[in-house]
Symmetry: C3
Subunit: 139 residues, 3 copies
């Protein structure tokens, strides 16, 4: 049993940019040499989230529209009165979807469906430098 | 420390069918002989999700109604224009709830509440054969 | 490799009280002496959830308002017709956000952002005694 850790850096534009990190996580799993175990993908920071989606342009638009409908960017949030940075909606979207995803590793590969990609969504209202932590536990 | 893996197959009708998989996961934990650790329950595919709920008929109806309210099945989605399979809403519901759940194992059993069951929700718009991966790490 | 487990008890007022448990989880990680690994934070019960948020009074108000908008407490739920306990909305909010969070541990500390705190949200409609299970796997 071992633990392997990898950090990847992303430059995002914010505004619900959806970044497909599946290849980077696959590579980290391959490099770790773990045959059976789990991998946790975690986004550092409170205005971005991690989930899976079929990564294709239509759904990327759809999830942005859904976020805008459920947590509108032009509504009034108490957070913005506290800090004045205007990204209260981004925090809420991030908390709703969540910052963490754990995927099984079986026979050396993640048990993802063919149309199931791991994505980071940057909900913030500006460009950000992001760090994704990939933590692999297994044997 | 060891890793134990089990796959279970489900036949679902889609349309937000809620499947209680608690007994199957409990059995996998018992079979693994792990006293202290964690179990990850992961659904393969991008139109289903995993969470916990009190599994009773009222809440099953309520969560379907909630999904329909938050992500209506009769709205227009860009995904459907791409593929024409009409299940854009199912992808979005799945990404919102998420495909993965990790539960602690203590003294040989999962630390679930009495009224807290592990469920797979199949959001797709048709019958599906599903695979759930149960990955146990512990000692 | 080892597994370390800790339970913490919370007294909450329910009604979407947001409880910052970051310090307790940090302490558990430090006590475990794990340098590289993962920590799972899990809430026992089906009317509370775990996520990360920037813990400041504005966002605490905002997330309560968001929950009230997405899953209103004064709407009619089938669960309440089953049990008559009037907390159907609390179950739904809990299932949507989810009961579990897994965070990497690197160089002995959790990889949380500066403004990213681990919180338990008690969605129930009354005071509750809660148990949070912190499960650490690593070396």
């Amino acid at each position: 049993m071992k633990v392997k850790s990898k950090k990847i850096k992303l430059q995002t534009k914010g505004k619900d940019q959806v970044v497909n990190v599946t290849d980077e996580v696959k590579q980290a799993v391959a490099d770790a040499g773990v045959k059976e175990g789990i991998v946790t993908v975690f986004i550092y920071g409170s205005t971005a989230s991690v989930t899976t989606i079929e990564y294709e342009p239509g759904l990327v638009k759809d999830i942005r529209n859904l976020d805008e409908k459920l947590v509108p960017s032009n509504a009034s949030y108490s957070h913005d009165q506290t800090w004045g940075d205007g990204n209260g909606y981004a925090h809420l979207r991030a908390s709703l979807i969540g910052p963490s995803l754990t995927v099984p590793i079986a026979e050396g590969v993640m048990t993802l469906g063919t149309w199931q990609q791991i994505v980071v969504i940057d909900h913030d209202n500006r460009s950000r430098s992001r760090e994704v932590i990939i933590q692999i536990v297994g044997e």
